[in-house]
């Protein structure tokens, strides 16, 4: 990451004012995103608490397109605010949750969904973890089976005539 991004004078490229790209580990980056003009503001909220609650639940799953991995509810970018207003307008117009989601996806594409839709191009993403788990269990199962066959030894070959004679001799000797 270029040190210029740390400089307060340089505007981070392609990143909203909501979340500058950042260089120190983990949460530090997240800390950089927050500013006190936080996300959902009272003036944009819906009068009906039930409708507002629906708007918030929908907002959690919609991505602020100009931010990094931030939902529109958590972002103070202008575009996120626009989307929050659109979601509330649609709810106000009587749309169901699915209709609102479709309305937004039709305009911005799947990219706007923080939970990618289940379809051909995301098959690996959605099924991969479970395939991995089943695969790992199969490997473990194979390991146990190999173990078992490895520990069961083939029965030793029967004694040869010569060996039997020597054994008899030994037994007779010890029997005395």
């Amino acid at each position: 990451m270029s040190p210029a991004l740390f400089s307060p004078h340089s505007e981070p490229r392609s990143v909203s004012k909501g979340r500058p790209a950042f260089g120190i580990p983990v949460l530090a980056m997240l800390l950089a995103l927050a500013s006190p003009a936080l996300a959902v503001n009272p003036d944009e909220m819906m009068k009906d608490p039930a409708q507002e609650h629906r708007a918030r639940e929908l907002g959690k799953d919609l991505r602020c397109l100009v931010c990094q991995n931030q939902s529109i509810d958590d972002s103070d970018a202008d575009l996120a605010k626009d989307l929050r207003v659109i979601v509330r307008e649609r709810i106000g117009a009587g749309d169901t949750d699915d209709m609102v989601r479709k309305f937004v996806v039709d305009r911005y594409g799947d990219y706007v969904l923080l939970k990618p839709p289940f379809k051909g191009t995301t098959l690996v993403l959605w099924l991969g973890p479970f395939a991995l788990f089943v695969g790992a269990l199969a490997v473990v199962f194979g390991f146990y089976r190999r173990r078992r066959t490895a520990t069961i030894q083939p029965p030793p070959p029967p004694l040869s005539a010569d060996e039997r004679r020597r054994l008899d001799a030994l037994l007779k000797e010890s029997g005395k």
Binding site: S2, R13, L31, M45, N69, L114
Partner: protein, 658 residues
């Protein structure tokens, strides 16, 4: 001048690291004791030189030497001393230097504590450690020199991002790095074991405590980071499934798996080649995390392009280290001798199942984190993978693991009796079911999310199961009079396990409750107006300007009442920093057993009020308590006599004496 000494020390450290990476390895191969003996002094010298470099940079920050570019870009004379020192690792170059310093420290620790290690293993491990050093020293010297000068020096610096001006900056990154880099120990010893073609109990007895130490540091770092995010971000979230967070979570998952599989290697001499693989993977994830954060490839594709040299360099380092290790593993691991036998239903089998779930969890996080990149590269369209995906896929994988966690410790080694263990847990199962149903009714049935009952049932199952196991170990019910004595004599590693597993249960309570029942009130609040939040009356009394060392705060005073009686005052702040001129919020938090009252003050409203954000976050302190129990459990286990460094020698002596 001091900065140049620091730079020069890094160059010298590189030379020493090259020697340490080559000579002991050749010595170990040819059985030349004097060549192998180079590793010890070299690791000490390397650490000394890198510590000098670190000291030089710290000195530049403390004295505000703005002729050093790094200091000019990230510091300011007004900054409190704590943030001048912590500012050293607040940026790319400095945090890389911290990484290398810790790596050298671990290398030196091998020399310091490893007197009793077999010389071949020790010299090879130190050589591998030095190879990692060479890679990172080249990286810092060629692409990220922290000592670059600025001509002419500016009068003052740009200052530090106000968001980072928090005690969290002083502790979170060092702990995280101690964890990341700590896994290099397991990695170096895994590679050394592959080179030697031998893994034995002495190996595990060395690797286990160091893995445990790294895991404790990493856990501590992640929990501190979450806590920091929680109180600073201003709306009560503590985990976001952000790529940068995932970068620290993947090594944690792999490290947790490694921690449990080393137990099997040590006690039962089994799962050896799997443990070696995990050691490689755990450190591989640490390197990957460093790559993801440092290159900026995930946070912004453009950041990668603006400085491709860094991204490409660290990607090469990653490919070399991990790819090379995997090739070596593929060549050497099949020849390793099979260890002790065990049935699928046994302690070993349960630990193996834990490993499978942990590894799948880590792979899931990896897939989700990298998928947007993969989809973009393969032209599958732009995809976002956010928290809803991870919650939907990762959490179901963890549920069976929590169920196994209560059963596994009761299982016998080699061949367990599952029916018998489940019989001992039948009351626990009933209690878990009852707790789930109770919580479901308390939240008003389907008025809350469906999974709250499941969360509480799992927490009850695990906590009671762990306590029953402890009670049986100390024979609390059979011989209560002797139980205390037995509890004291119980190995500390067993206590560590009990504490850590119990901590996970406590954590699950916090996770479930805070995710399901957080209440939020966002409004424009006038002076004197009261808002009810989580049973508290929150009254805005006043807002006034208060000067800070390098900022001005507008501080609100809220009166808090419960059932009409005043219970205290809360004072959140909105700060505006002078350099750089950026605003931050400081929430006021009132913690209790049942949850946190979380109060944030916003901008003034044209209508004469203030935007206030008031939250009640249930059971949040349980999260931190659970995290603390994990760390304490790790520390207690680390204090176990058998884990103390040097134990391998005593065991060896005993064997000779016998």
């Amino acid at each position: 001048m001091i900065a140049e000494i620091g730079h020069f020390a890094l160059v010298l450290a590189l030379c020493v690291a090259v020697v340490q990476a080559v000579i002991p390895l050749v010595g170990a191969k040819r059985g030349m004791g004097s060549w192998m003996a180079v590793a010890g002094p070299a690791s000490a010298l390397q650490f000394l030189l890198i510590a000098i470099a670190f000291g030089a940079l710290t000195n530049a920050y403390v004295t505000s030497d703005f002729s050093v570019m790094n200091v000019a870009q990230n510091s300011h004379t007004d900054k409190p001393m704590l943030y001048k020192v912590a500012g050293v690792w607040s940026n790319h170059e400095g945090s890389l230097l911290l990484w290398i310093t810790i790596l050298a420290l671990f290398g030196y620790a091998v020399t310091l504590f490893g007197r009793n290690l077999p010389p071949g293993l020790k010299s090879r491990a130190l050589a591998v450690q030095a190879m990692i050093s060479v890679g990172f020293l080249l990286f810092i010297l060629l692409t990220s020199n922290p000592f670059a000068r600025l001509e002419p020096p500016p009068v003052n610096g740009n200052g530090l991002n106000p968001m980072l001006q928090d005690p969290g900056l002083a502790f979170h990154p060092p702990f995280l790095y101690l964890g990341y880099v700590g896994f290099s120990m397991a990695f170096s010893f895994a590679i050394a074991a592959l080179l030697e073609g031998r893994v034995d109990a002495a190996w595990a007895r060395w690797v286990r405590p160091w893995t445990l130490a790294a895991w404790v540091f990493l856990t501590c770092g992640i929990v501190l980071g979450s806590w920091w995010a929680y109180y600073t971000l201003g709306w009560g979230g503590w985990w976001y499934w952000d790529p940068v967070e995932n970068a620290s979570f993947m090594p944690w998952l792999a490290g947790t798996a490694l921690l449990h599989s080393t137990v099997v290697v040590e006690k039962r001499d089994a799962l050896k080649s799997w443990t070696i693989l995990l050691a490689i993977v755990a450190f591989g994830f640490s390197l990957l995390g460093t790559f993801l954060v440092r290159s900026g490839v995930l946070t912004s594709v453009h950041a990668f392009a603006t400085d491709p040299a860094r991204g490409v360099f660290i990607l090469m380092l990653l490919v070399l280290a991990v790819g090379g290790s995997f090739i070596l593993y593929a060549m050497r691991a099949p020849a390793m001798k099979m260890g002790g036998l065990f049935a699928p239903v046994s302690r070993e089998g349960a630990l193996l199942l834990n490993n499978v779930l942990m590894a799948t969890g880590a792979a899931t996080v990896l897939l989700g984190t990298l998928y947007p990149l993969i989809a973009d590269a393969l032209n599958l369209g732009k995809v976002s993978v956010g928290p809803p995906f991870f919650n939907a896929v990762f959490l179901p994988l963890m549920a069976p693991m929590v169920m196994v966690m209560a059963v596994a410790p009761m299982m016998a080694w080699k061949r367990g009796d599952l029916a018998g263990v489940l019989d001992r847990l039948k009351f626990v199962a009933a209690a878990a079911l009852a707790a789930g149903v109770l919580v479901w009714f308390l939240q008003g049935g389907s008025a809350g999310p469906w999974w709250t009952g499941a969360g509480f049932a799992l927490a009850t199952w695990l906590s009671l199961g762990t306590l029953i196991d402890l009670a049986e170990r100390i024979r609390l019910f059979q011989a209560p009079a002797e139980a205390l004595g037995r509890a004291i004599r119980l190995p500390r590693s067993a206590w560590g396990m009990v504490l850590a597993h119990f901590g996970v249960a406590v954590f699950i309570v916090g996770l479930t409750a805070s995710a399901a029942w957080t209440t939020e009130h966002i409004q424009s609040q006038k002076l004197g107006e009261t808002v009810m939040v989580g049973g508290f009356g929150v009254t805005l009394k006043s807002v006034e300007d208060v000067p800070g060392p390098n900022y001005t705060a507008s501080r609100a005073t809220f009166d808090i009442s419960r059932d009409g009686e005043s219970v205290g005052v809360m004072q959140p702040e909105k700060r505006t920093y002078r350099m750089p001129p950026r605003p931050t919020t400081t929430a006021a938090i009132r913690s209790g057993m049942t949850g946190d009252l979380y109060v944030v003050i916003g901008d003034a409203d044209p209508k004469g009020g203030y935007v206030t954000r008031l939250y009640f976050n249930p059971c949040i302190p349980w999260l931190w308590a659970g995290g603390a129990l994990l760390v304490i459990g790790g520390l207690v286990s680390l204090a176990d006599r058998r884990h103390r460094v040097g134990a391998p020698a005593r065991a060896a002596e005993r064997r000779v004496a016998a």
